[in-house]
């Protein structure tokens, strides 16, 4: 296996799917001639032409709605939102239309399309360019939500998302774009199934269920917790937020007895709260202590480096929360 960047993995996935199915087309701001603000769609206009790589004006509502229309007759649009924050600009088309179209038409029409773009904090973009939207997307039924953390998963899941007959929100993270990881070369095609979590680190004491850039933070936190505190975390990469692969998570919790869900969208009414609610619905008996969740602090994501760091639910907070879980309980550790 070779090593590739996250961006390169996405670019390959798009190219391969455009070759694989002539119904696939790209639409969004700067995606064509410039190749995308973050260069994810680079060179694809040259290869596939102006009918399949469409540079739009700054009209998110219109081009999102157009994606629905085209998808309804079997095209497979991949819509880029330059920042996933702009979800809110096109929210009616996304949540009132795309998410509902299959249902409202009694199944007569389906809208296989992908909404993709980067999100997240860590680069001082401030309140309107740093939000994570996975919980928002997950709240509305009818749209799958995928948020891979590695180049391997990113490529395989983007290909799967494009082939899926449902609308899929494909959430990238600006901190992941230049990360590298192993992936098979282009000639070895693979898909990563939507809806399957992946254990990225095994451990015996606490299950950390997370995804996207928080996965990397959780893995780092796990190392520190292990080295400095003797706590052994199992890190489950959910990869897909809707549907949640609770089976894999519960399997892990069966072993550790502890669950901490971590994500970068707001904690309040977030995916973490959802996972906590579900474990008590479906498998409370697995828990040896209260399940916990961690998300973005309830503030509008400040620009200042020190403030942004404070608001993000990253390594430091993960470590602190796991240690809090430990302090609250005798016999916390299963291993060593």
């Amino acid at each position: 296996m070779r090593r590739t960047t996250y961006i390169q993995a996405l670019n390959e996935a798009l190219r391969e799917e455009m070759q694989h199915d002539e119904n696939v087309f790209l639409i969004g701001e700067d995606v064509g001639h410039y190749g995308g603000l973050f260069r994810v769609t680079r060179n694809l206009l040259n290869e596939f032409g102006e009918k399949r790589v469409l540079d739009t004006p700054i009209s998110e509502q219109a081009f999102m709605g157009m994606a629905l229309g085209a998808a309804a007759v079997g095209m497979r649009p991949v819509v880029e939102l330059m920042y996933m924050d702009f979800t809110l600009v096109a929210a009616d088309q996304i949540f009132n239309q795309i998410a509902k179209y299959h249902y409202m038409t009694g199944g007569l029409l389906s809208v296989p399309l992908v909404i993709r773009g980067q999100q997240g904090g860590g680069k001082r973009y401030g309140s309107q360019h740093s939000q994570s939207v996975e919980s928002l997307y997950a709240h509305f039924p009818g749209i799958r939500v995928v948020a891979p953390a590695t180049p391997y998963d990113a490529k395989g899941l983007l290909k799967a998302a494009i082939r899926d007959d449902n609308p899929v929100a494909f959430l990238e993270h600006k901190m992941l774009y230049f990360t590298r990881g192993e992936a098979p070369p282009p000639e070895e095609e693979y898909l990563v199934p939507i809806g399957k979590a992946d254990v990225k680190r095994t451990g015996s004491d606490v299950t950390i269920a997370t995804f996207s850039y928080c996965l990397l933070q959780a893995l780092e936190a796990a190392e520190t917790l292990h080295e400095e505190h003797g706590v052994d975390c199992e890190v489950v990469d959910l990869r897909t937020v809707e549907p949640l692969d609770t089976e894999t998570v519960w399997e892990s919790v069966a072993k550790t007895g502890h669950l901490l869900a971590v994500h970068e969208s707001y904690a309040n009414c977030g995916v973490g709260a959802e996972l906590v609610a579900r474990v008590y619905e479906e498998a409370p008996y697995l828990l040896r202590a209260p399940a916990r969740r961690l998300g973005m602090a309830p503030v509008s994501i400040p620009v200042s480096r020190v403030l942004e760091e404070e608001a993000l639910p990253w390594k430091k907070d993960i470590i602190a929360t796991v240690l809090e879980m430990e302090r609250g309980q005798k016999g916390f550790r299963n291993g060593n």
Partner: protein, 376 residues
Amino acid sequence: MQTADNVTEAVETENGAAQSPSTSEADTGSRTPPASITTDALPSGSATDLDVPALPTELLQEMYRMALTIRLMEEALLAAAEEGQIGGAMHTAIGHEANAIGAAYALRPGDYVTCTYRGHHHGLAWGMDPGRAIAEVMGRSDGFAKGKGGSMHFVSPEHGMMGGNGIVAAQVPHAAGLALASHIRGEERVAITFFGDGALFQGVMHETFNIAAKWKLPLIFYCENNRYSEMTPIWRTSSIEDIYLFPRSYGMNSMQIDGNDVEVVHAAVSQAAERARSGLGPTFIEGITYRLAGHMAGDLETYRPQEEVEMQQAYEPLTVLRQKLLARGIDEARITAIDEEVDEKIDEAVAFAENSPWPDKAETYLDVFVVSAEGE
């Protein structure tokens, strides 16, 4: 705090909103309405140099049959709503029929249409069966969408009907997307989208104007200007009087026509479709029309004088169509025969719908996601 009684009362007041008593008089705002709305079917600026060929009498007769089918279905639906058989917001197209019919007959099989919550006339004109349409509005299992979409979401892909919509103007970019699909695939299909005068003030409309004009999409924007948005007259919210001027600023072909005359509508849509198919891009058509019934079932219509409605009876599509038929030598007897035939057809359709079973509860949970093998 409420008692259980109150709760029940609320549950049973279907369409309570619209039926609640009104005290407002017809508009008495400081600004006055333009004269056109009370004196004529068309505002002053409506003259158009559109060439309107006479349609074959046979076709006019078919159109009359369709217009009456729509009208009687709408009346049956209003009656059913009053009985409580229909809930939610049901918007009838009484008075709007010609817009849909003229357009439907001007287009080809394979073309696409999207419309609003006020979409019954489009559905029928595009070939949807009245029985199944009524069943849909009533939430029965034989409805086109199994009772899930209801009145606001008429849909039948086999007829090119790609969906009504509950959100003002949301269906407009959908049609642009359909036109884009046709464009990308190099097909000859055109898309038409219907919307009301109020939709001009939803931003997405203008976003779509620009893209459609720039990309020369095979798209027809059809505005059914009935001079009201819910209970507010258009002159109170529009900065200009003639809506068809907005799309002109995008360099788009745009015209204002008599939307109550099927021949005029047919001519306009034919021309627009021809332009679209030959790569000349979108056309905007403002069909001046009038909604003879309330905005939705239960509307008490306190916001407009009754004389205004009565004045409009002279220009409404069925009247116009009947006049055309008489002028073509179709006699009263023949028309009456059609009337009876349609009347019977609608009775049957209502009976069909009323006998259609309720959907199974399990149906609630289906159609959220497509269940398919691909990609997984």
